[in-house]
């Protein structure tokens, strides 16, 4: 009997292919192939409608040509600063809010949660313009507010000043996205069993000590995930800068990040015409940066963060 069955070939399970096919096809055709197409395109250039292989020439231009390399390093540094602001401001605030929200028997916590998450759902266009208006010296909402607390003298048109614009935009972006770390940390805090917290209460570990010694170590994996999500999101950002400052990422490119740099290169602006090949080279660099970040996270950080089974 057993032998008979063993000889029979297992029928091909077509339904597995049917279930997988639509997702895999769309995903491969619209995402993966173009992604590698872009990487490939960065090795080409064109003259008189003729495309030809140039090897790493585009990258040589990007790093060798002083104009290109200046723009690239400017965008990369700005992007890094943008990321640093998020890590230093957005994530600690998010964790703090989540810690407050998760205090037991806190009233109105659903209201706070809902309200603080609202900026996250708004589009960059709304956020960019709303803040542009509020910070505008023409309208005067911001100076008025500062006046209320007696700090009117501090006001400057932050978005218009080279030295402040990027930091201001970073903080606007923090304002918009603080809801995401808040929610994820909140969820992580809720998943700590009540009894563990009660055991800590019995041990006399309460208040801040409880947060540092018990809760924080238990939510470290979530903080790791948030960091990498922030990294990918920041090095892929474009919309907010574009909405608030336009494709030129003014004033004087002081808010230029990789996303806007890519857009300008690809589509051209003012006198320069669009260059898909240099655009691909920049996209490839972004790909490389993000991939490196993700790999560092996956292979060094995540393996050290323990996930605890309760």
């Amino acid at each position: 009997m057993a032998g008979e069955f063993a000889q029979q070939k297992k029928p091909i399970r077509w339904h597995i292919a049917v279930f997988l096919a639509p997702a895999v096809l769309v995903y491969t055709a619209v995402m993966i192939i173009p992604l590698f197409g872009t990487l490939q395109l960065s090795l080409f250039n064109a003259e008189n409608q003729q495309r030809f292989f140039v090897g790493l020439d585009n990258f040589r231009k990007l790093f060798g040509d002083p104009r290109w390399s200046a723009s690239f390093w400017n965008a990369l540094w700005n992007n890094t600063w943008f990321f640093i602001i998020h890590m230093l401001v957005q994530n600690p605030i998010g964790i703090g809010l989540a810690a407050l929200l998760s205090s037991p028997k806190l009233r109105f916590s659903a209201f706070y949660r809902t309200a603080i998450f609202i900026p996250t759902i708004l589009s960059f266009v709304i956020v960019g313009f709303a803040w542009k208006l509020i910070l505008s010296p023409l309208w005067g909402v911001a100076p008025n507010l500062l006046d209320l607390v007696g700090l009117k003298s501090l006001f400057t048109p932050w978005l218009g000043k080279e030295e402040y614009a990027l930091t201001t935009l970073g903080l606007i972006s923090v304002w918009q996205f603080v809801g995401i770390p808040m929610m994820l940390i909140y969820a992580a805090l809720l998943s700590i069993p009540d009894e563990v917290i009660e055991a800590a209460e019995m041990d006399g570990i309460t208040g801040m000590a409880q947060f540092w010694k018990i809760k924080l170590p238990l939510i470290l994996p979530s903080i790791g995930i948030i960091s990498i999500l922030t990294f990918v999101g920041n090095f892929n950002a474009f919309d907010l800068i574009y909405s608030a400052q336009g494709a030129l990422a003014g004033p004087n490119y002081s808010t230029d990040i990789l996303g806007t740099f890519l857009y300008r290169t690809f589509f051209g602006f003012q006198l320069q015409t669009g260059d898909p090949y240099m655009g691909s080279a920049i996209a490839s660099m972004m790909f490389l940066i993000i991939l490196t970040g993700v790999c560092i996270y996956l292979f060094t950080i995540q393996t050290r963060l323990r996930r605890y089974q309760f």
Binding site: A23, L35, I116, I118, A130, S280, F287
Partner: protein, 279 residues
């Protein structure tokens, strides 16, 4: 928590901090909305007070709505969002079922392949995506956007949904098999209804970035007939940047639909996050 473990100053402090942050979160939205209902003079003179009977003015809204195109833009956004959402949920759930239910060669590899898109943003392929759309004649069609957003939404959808589908009881599916249900029926009749709550979570996560996206509408479908509301608002505001009434009204109109949707789905969203779908 009991009297013995709670302290009043701590509770008051928590509320103060949360209220302060809530004010920061809502302030810009509130300022925009209240000023959109005021006359031009009042907007500048008393930007922080709500409209009164004297300063109440709908001129901004009439200006925006007389533009007329906004209804078309809204319709475009709606079509793109709903269609992409439907495809993401359907294809995503099917793939998630295949990955979580069947053991087959390459299962893990396929899972990793699909998960790649969670970390690598689709925008990096834009140059080639545009070439693809040009080659297939899909530039300036809503189909192009739907395709891109479906691809963009699938990785996270597959990842979250397969986590949930692993929780559906094997006994239930096996009972279905013994009753002679085909694998397709087991998926559509037994599994899909059970993971409906998680589908709602995925829907919210997928919907927000699609509705708010500026990049792909700008690049793939900037024509008048295919503009989405986000792109339309961006261009309109850029054009009318000195017309404060119109700008504020346009912003308020753009906030409204998302806000309503969010308030309807916020419980779902929070339940989805806290049930551990995205940890």
């Amino acid at each position: 928590m009991s009297r013995a473990t709670a302290s009043l100053p701590r509770t008051v402090g928590a509320h103060a901090a949360l209220l302060a942050y809530t004010a920061i979160a809502l302030f810009p939205v509130v300022v925009i909305v209240i000023n959109s209902f005021k006359s031009r003079n009042a907007i500048f003179r008393t930007p922080l007070s709500p409209p009164t009977s004297e300063t109440f003015d709908l001129i901004g809204y009439t200006m925006v709505l007389n533009q007329g195109d906004f209804f078309l833009y809204f319709q475009n956004s709606l079509i793109v969002t709903v269609a992409s959402l439907f495809l993401v949920l359907l294809f995503g759930a099917m793939a998630a079922f295949a990955l979580s239910e069947y053991r087959f060669r390459g299962n893990t590899l396929m899972g990793l392949y699909l998960a790649l898109g969670i970390m690598i943003p689709i925008r990096l392929g834009t140059v080639a995506i545009l070439q693809l759309m040009v080659a297939s004649g899909l530039v300036n069609t809503l189909t192009a956007l739907v395709l891109v957003y479906t691809a963009q939404g699938l990785p996270l959808a597959v990842f979250i949904l397969s986590e949930f589908m692993k929780q559906v009881s094997d006994d239930l599916k096996n009972a279905g098999r013994i009753d002679g249900l085909s694998e397709y029926r087991i998926f559509f009749r037994l599994v899909l209804p059970l993971v409906r709550p998680s589908m709602a979570t995925v829907a919210v996560f997928t919907m927000i970035p699609i509705w708010n996206d500026l990049w792909f509408p700008l690049i793939l479908a900037p024509s008048e007939a295919t503009k989405t509301i986000t792109l339309g608002a961006q261009l309109f505001i850029g054009q009318y940047v000195t017309n404060w009434n119109a700008v504020l009204a346009a912003l308020s109109l753009a906030i409204l639909p998302v806000l309503v949707l969010y308030l309807i789905f916020s419980r779902q969203l929070i339940r989805g996050i806290t049930s551990g779908a995205v940890k």
